[in-house]
Symmetry: C2
Subunit: 399 residues, 2 copies
């Protein structure tokens, strides 16, 4: 697909040798003066040093640059890890001529090892010389942030907002340790629209809530999750105001782009052979819908059955039944598997046949529709199956 | 180990051909008139027909017999499943000359298929003729209730209570879909002590809470979980009164026996190569300790790392950090892995070396000690690792 450059945003990558020896693992994303920035970070209490520092920096000023590395998460690294992060921000600030507090740091990779500051020091000066606004720079950056991912996740949209051409381009990485709780491992989205910080944050929160916060691979929330949205304001236009028609238009496009990135993470989930959409509706609250959706999405037994293309719907039923929803009335429960009714009004659907079930789960794309009652509440969660390959990847990750 | 017969309790098994063709799959446990019975059942809202019927029967009278089958869970089977269960209870009641409400039914195996009542009808008459109080009958029954288990779980204790010899013998089955929420898949424990129902229930609740309710293989709570404790009263002794010295003595023995059975389930967990004990202490409440313990115990990333004997302690730290405990103060957190300090006061322990970590996780028995603060609260949860074999077993279960 076409990747649109974002005016006012430049990117550069480098092979710093942080962990990998044969690929880029360092990314600098620079935004022009006056850009606004919205962020969401992991709710994991053992958040990584870069997450802690980025949260501090964003309260001091809008950033001029993001510094991203793959291969090392700089999490669980204590005071030394924090000192190293500060130093890396200072190195980039020095090269760009800005303040260290105007650099937001991001790391992803192995937890519990110190980052090699010397590798950053060696790579940053040349890296910033290659900063480019071209689409190719986005493509290189989307590759450089990957760890166990097998494909880059990069999407782009062009909008006409009140006669002005606006671009939104974003990338994400993540394949395992995915149960984002504010944002996925790492996502960087930029637009050249004019949007002030408070409005930008509102747009990001809304889109995150129904994109990155609706996916799970293994239920494990990372220490490094971060999603950042930059608005360079390089387009000559009126600022997008909260709750205006332009806001709605931008919000829809941003949400679709972020849902596309979130789904790309699930399609690339560690060992995944199926892409599973779980729609849950009709519970007393959105939280009840979510409790059922995530219980099914994270059930190892449901996931291994789908991996085996086995329509073992009893496991879906058992997962619904154990979800933490006090008001569940099983006589109201309807479940469909790729359009095949398996449970109707809490009873096995009389029309169900094993052949129909087998055909339903043979697909690579599986949709599970669970209706719990008659309210208007509904949620969608995306997940993957659980395969031998997931075990292999995660048993061998550090070797 | 020695299995002690329990006076007043007789058992028989049969190869009814419910699913398997070459082994016993039906068990009858008969208790003498005047026996008392305590039960705990799954909290899964899609509970199986036998669970629903057993819960109803136990409110009507104390049972004279338990009817157990493996190979078919009779769960998710709707009205027909319930009718079939009623019929099976009537068949056994007819053969024993008791009322159908004096039979408690139990099923374990595949969810969503109807049980073959004809197979029960054919097997029950001969089965009851072979009822025996001998230890061998317990051994045969412990084998007949198994599904994906590879070994029977059967334990026995002999006590001297106020000069009277009392026996407790119990069996359990379960290897996957294990996150009991009142009891594990199936457990049957009997004693010949004299204990009235209310006291017996109190003893069972207490022991279940810190045995079967403290294990997890995959977080999936079964639709058929049930644990039943029979007291035949065949010993000539004073009844054991609530909260007496005899109560304490019996409670300790029962708890140890049930913990032994619960641990046996984890040692036989599907695909398990490690036996993992997770001790969590010092949180504000027992529930907070449990939230952390289960988050670590059910983290696919922690489980695959331990399967690989990889001291990837960052994953333990990440799991602790994402547990649903609002008051967690990471500066108070200490984590040890088989006695090796990995996190001290929330920071990587300075004495930790990768060699020490490798040695710690090389063992088959792994203990993870997590101290969250300085309160007296503490819990222990037992779990297994996550291996290729778990995926194979659960991808191929119905084929």
């Amino acid at each position: 697909m076409t990747i649109y450059p974002v005016k006012g945003i430049r990117l550069a990558t480098a092979a710093a040798g942080i962990r990998y020896t044969d690929r880029d693992d360092l990314v600098v994303i620079e935004c022009q003066a006056g850009s606004s920035c919205a962020t969401v970070f992991t709710q994991n209490k053992f958040s990584a040093a870069p997450v802690q520092l980025a949260k501090e920096h964003i309260t001091q000023s809008m950033p001029r640059a993001l510094l991203v590395n793959s291969g090392n998460a700089n999490a669980g690294t204590g005071e030394k890890g924090m000192k190293n992060t500060v130093q890396c921000c200072e190195l980039l600030a020095g090269a760009l001529g800005c303040d260290a507090s105007e650099v937001l740091p991001y790391s992803t990779g192995v937890i519990g090892e110190q980052i090699p500051v010397q590798a950053f020091a060696a790579a940053i000066p040349d890296c910033v010389k290659s900063l480019s606004a071209e689409a190719d720079a986005w493509v290189r950056a989307a590759k450089a942030i990957l760890t166990t991912d097998t494909v880059p996740k990069l999407l782009s949209r062009k909008l006409d907002i009140a006669g002005c051409e606006v671009n939104i381009t974003g990338m994400a990485k993540g394949a395992g340790m995915i149960r984002p709780d504010m944002a996925t491992m790492l996502a960087f989205i930029a637009t050249d629209a004019v949007i002030e910080q408070a409005v930008l944050q509102k747009l990001l929160n809304k889109a995150t809530g129904i994109s990155f916060n609706r996916i799970t691979v293994d239920g494990d929330t990372s220490t490094n999750d971060a999603c950042t949205l930059l608005a360079s304001g390089a387009v000559d236009m009126q600022p997008i105001k909260a709750d205006s028609a332009e806001f709605a238009q931008f919000s829809t496009a941003l949400t679709e782009l972020m849902q596309g990135l979130a789904q790309a993470i699930i399609r690339d989930a560690e060992g995944a052979t199926k892409f599973i959409t779980i729609n849950v509706s009709g519970a007393e609250s959105e939280n009840d819908c979510l409790a059922v959706a995530y219980t099914v999405a994270e059930s190892p037994l449901v996931k291994t059955a789908l991996f085996a293309s086995d329509p073992n719907w009893g496991r879906i039923l058992a997962a619904v039944g154990r979800a933490a929803v006090s008001s569940l009335d099983i006589s109201q429960v309807n479940i469909m598997l790729n359009g095949v009714a398996i449970v109707t009004a809490g009873e096995p659907d009389p029309s169900y046949t094993e052949d129909a079930g087998l055909q339903a789960v043979a697909d690579i794309e599986i949709t599970i529709d669970i209706k719990l009652g008659s309210t208007a509440e509904s949620v969608t969660v995306w997940t993957s199956d659980l395969s031998h390959e997931y075990i292999r990847i995660n048993a061998e990750y550090r070797t």
